[in-house]
Amino acid sequence: MVDKMDYTPLRIPLGPVHPALKEPISFRVTVRKEEIVDVDVQLGHVHRGIESLAESRNLIQTLYLVERICGICSHSHTTCFTQALEEIGGIKPSWRALYLRTLIFELERMHSHLFLLGIMAYEIGFDTLFMFTWHARENVLDLFEEITGNRIHHSMNTIGGVRWDLSLHMVEKINDSLKEMEKSIKYIEEVFQDKTVEERLCGVGVLGYNEARELCVVGPTARGSGVSMDIRRDYPYAAYSELKESFSVVLRNSADACARTEVRIFELFESINIIRTILDKLPNGAISTGISVLKLMSKIPEGETVSIVEAPRGELLYFVKTNGKEGLLRLKVRTPTIPNVLGLKPMLIGCEIADIPVTAASIDPCMACANRITVINQDKGEARVINWENLRRRGKKQ
């Protein structure tokens, strides 16, 4: 009671232009002394109207558009989209193509997690660890460049398979690279257990198990709170149905930023195991259907489907509805950051200002993926957020 009388709350704007956040997101934080009492998250700064653009383009153009929703998880987006198209069109890629897709998928998971570990170190002021982690990440980007030709936005997927093959020489190179990276990641794990880092990460941004289930958070954010969900194990796609024994789902129970960071570090080790198994078991065969992709595109009939993959940040869901004439009637993208960002408010209440960048980084936000608009009635000047009941009713009507 004394606190409420002594200190007036101070509203601090954080973003959208802020050195801690590489992407625009707006927090309006209400602070009393140094303790946060309220958080208002405003998205929408990266809204580029991709879903409406997709309706006026053909399937191949949409494939390249969808890849650029996010630079960090681009392969996840294209995999999800091509999976949906292949399901509608009844096209079955060869097993070699599926294995190569999974290989790039896991390499992308490694690059994304190393990226995030570096950003977490940068947020707590530990520049040296940031430099080390990103130096290790360069190995993965080198592999991408040798296999696909680009460090980011690899365009590996096409309808019916993949575009680049792997030679024996490349397989050896990947194995050597993995050995080096294992050593670096072990060292990074040790440094993350340093006393000053622990003081900053532990006990910060706690999201309990029940709250995590209620808000439907996904990915390492959920696994750090003890919720056991992983699309690779639960609904296997690509080559994961044959790789079940090579990885295990990493869970932690302490539900704070430290737990989420640990989940990601151990997922790096699991990814290394998966990649080694893939390289061992890589089957022979063609990498694509051999039919020109323009012909394939014209063969895809009218239809709709839902496709899910486990992106580095969590569950990524696509609803694709084709119109049978090489175009799309509707594309709906539900990225993992949307539910994760909702988890920020309960995490931040009661923390200090110094914890905001740490917590925001620990859910691994990818703002480019997560922008939606609220319907604002200009005459009345109010924002109308459609609630759950109304949404279900509308969905049932149509």
Binding site: P19, A121, G125, F132, I356
Partner: protein
Amino acid sequence: MNTIAILLAMVPVVFFISLLFEGIDRKIHARMQKRIGPPIIQPFYDFIKLFNKERIVPVTASSGIFTATPIIAAAAAILGASIPLASLTAETSVVGDLILILYLLAMSSVMVMVGGSSSGNPYGAIGFSRKMTMLIAYEMPMLISIVSVSLNCFSLAYYDIVSTQIRTKSLLAFTRPSMAVAAITFLLCIPATADVVPFDISEAKTEIIHGPLVEYGGPYLALVKLAKAASNFALTFLAMGLFFHLPALLGGYASVGLGAICLCLVTTLILLLLTITVPRTIFARLKIGQAFKFYWLIPLASSIMAVVLSILEL
């Protein structure tokens, strides 16, 4: 009058050496991170470039305080660094004693904070409140350790303590247990005074966008950076002179003069690398509560122990 002339002559020397030391600090920091790093004279390029930029004063700032405080901060820091250097060159006490030097250095950091908070930016206000908290945390152990040194040497003048070491041909930190404890306390307080990780909480870049420095640009920023560089140099030079005056070990004519001053500067550089560069590279930033707790537990206790041991003549 002679001493005042030497003091004024030291001002450009301090300007040059403090920026050079900042360059060496950045180079070593980069090398420790497996990078190449900027050339050693980079801070000079930064300073000249900043002086030639547009002068912007935000509309929400109180322009008198905003524009005056960087000048006062830089002047105070350079003066605080010139006094010990002039004392060593003139081989006598110049102008003031330790209390004056520490006051000038404290005033320099407070002036930067006041200027930053007068800019009207909420980040400046947060940085200001954080710095005030840190000031309470680290100033007390530092002052108490100076008290224990003066109890030991029966004087508060800088040159008296240096000449005690020259006379007894020993480094003060190694003469008595009380002085060793006082030296350790003083060195522990330097990272917080210099605003480096793990204690750069008031100027955290990723949390509050440089805190009080967020609205400073152009010439004002150049002066603020100069104030910081001079203040770092002054602190480590003070630590060197009070506790580790290396030329004292040589004795006779080698303990004074130009060669001795060069040896002092080299020792200052080593202390700067130990207390500012190394913590900056190997630690993460602490939160304000944790830093406050640390300073009230360890350095404060050790400084009080140093005083008690001095009184007991140990």
